[in-house]
Symmetry: C2
Subunit: 216 residues, 2 copies
């Protein structure tokens, strides 16, 4: 009655008016809350111990709300994959701003990949990946999204190093990504951190040699 600005929701007032939110706003809010909670759960408790009840509790959302947005648990997980990938991509893109050119790009690029593909968020990815091996539905959801992430990151490097031969860059990139993922696995169960750093350093040397053309 009193302060109900009806048809023309001014952006300034509408966000300020406490208690009043657009349907779209409400939707977006609880949706991301659920997806973030899912990622948290995966990171902290692992896929096997992640239940929708736990997710709802963390998101501060009722089970009913969850079911309204994601009919089944599988659907929630599938959507979480996308959400997760977006966050990783955003992180990588944000960190890619300060990258140098020339040979130093190789070292820093490897570090960037390491951070992106072995960070906290990647633990959640790993959980979903491994789960997807025996879950066709999840695999179907993951595959395209992951492929897109890999390709877009590769394109990022192609932009940063336009003078570098395509073939060399691609090889270097994918080798680094896969090595990183292996090392990330090692890190997860508490492997020797010193050795990991040594290996990463060694790999940088090798990659530099390849970059210079010393190795075919």
């Amino acid at each position: 009655m009193t302060a109900t600005q009806p048809t023309q929701p001014d952006a300034l007032t509408s966000t300020r008016e406490r208690g009043h939110r657009t349907q779209a706003q409400r939707r977006e809010r609880t949706r991301t809350a659920l997806l973030d909670a899912t990622i948290d759960c995966l990171t902290e408790r692992g896929y096997a111990r992640t239940s929708v009840q736990e997710i709802c509790a963390r998101a501060g959302v009722s089970k009913g709300a969850q079911q309204h947005h994601f009919t089944t648990k599988a659907e929630l997980m599938a959507t979480a994959v996308e959400h997760l990938t977006n966050r990783i991509q955003a992180d990588i893109l944000a960190a890619s701003g300060e990258l140098p050119e020339g040979p130093e790009l190789v070292e820093q690029g490897i570090d960037l990949i390491w951070q992106g593909f072995a960070g906290t968020l990647s633990s959640a990815v790993m959980e979903l990946w491994v789960a997807a091996r025996t879950d066709a539905e999840l695999a179907a959801a993951i595959k395209p999204v992951d492929k897109a992430l890999g390709r877009s990151t590769l394109e990022l490097f192609q932009t940063l190093a336009p003078d570098m031969p395509q073939q060399t860059l691609e090889t270097l990139y994918w080798l680094t990504v896969n090595l990183t993922r292996g090392l990330a696995l090692d890190a997860q169960i508490g492997g020797d951190a010193t050795r990991r750093n040594q290996l990463l350093t060694e790999w940088k040397h090798i990659a530099l040699a390849i970059y210079r053309g010393d190795v075919a």
Copy 2:
């Protein structure tokens, strides 16, 4: 009365006498049946969907028997890790017999590591590994066993290539292991097999260059 050779169980007769088995035999039999079934379950259904009921069913063993040998599920899993590692180690050892010397060892060695660390059995390892990230008890069981497998395989290569510098061999070995594990992950969710083979080939070239001393 008739054929009961009592205190001195002749190996020949005891195995032949149908229906009569030593306690040790019975024990060993159901134990390995359970452990093998566990690995099968992990491979086919994944850690999250692996239940003791399923394991018992596959092993053809009652729940009571399982509980007799492994009080808790965690204990079963922990023991399965050891069993699993032993099987992998045996596979590697068996395949290592026909390895050549010199430069060709590098290529074939990489193939050997690939087969050992990315084969079917390794899917089960992966499941347990990822589960161990959020399960301290399981991690405690895995860590020493895995470390032992890694070291013993490294020692195998040290025996096969005695003339190779320690430092070079170690670096090459661990880089290959971790790269392999990353590629194994990629393979599990149906990544591009062609690209994997290309990367493996590329890596062999690089490794050969390192072996020759072309790269520091």
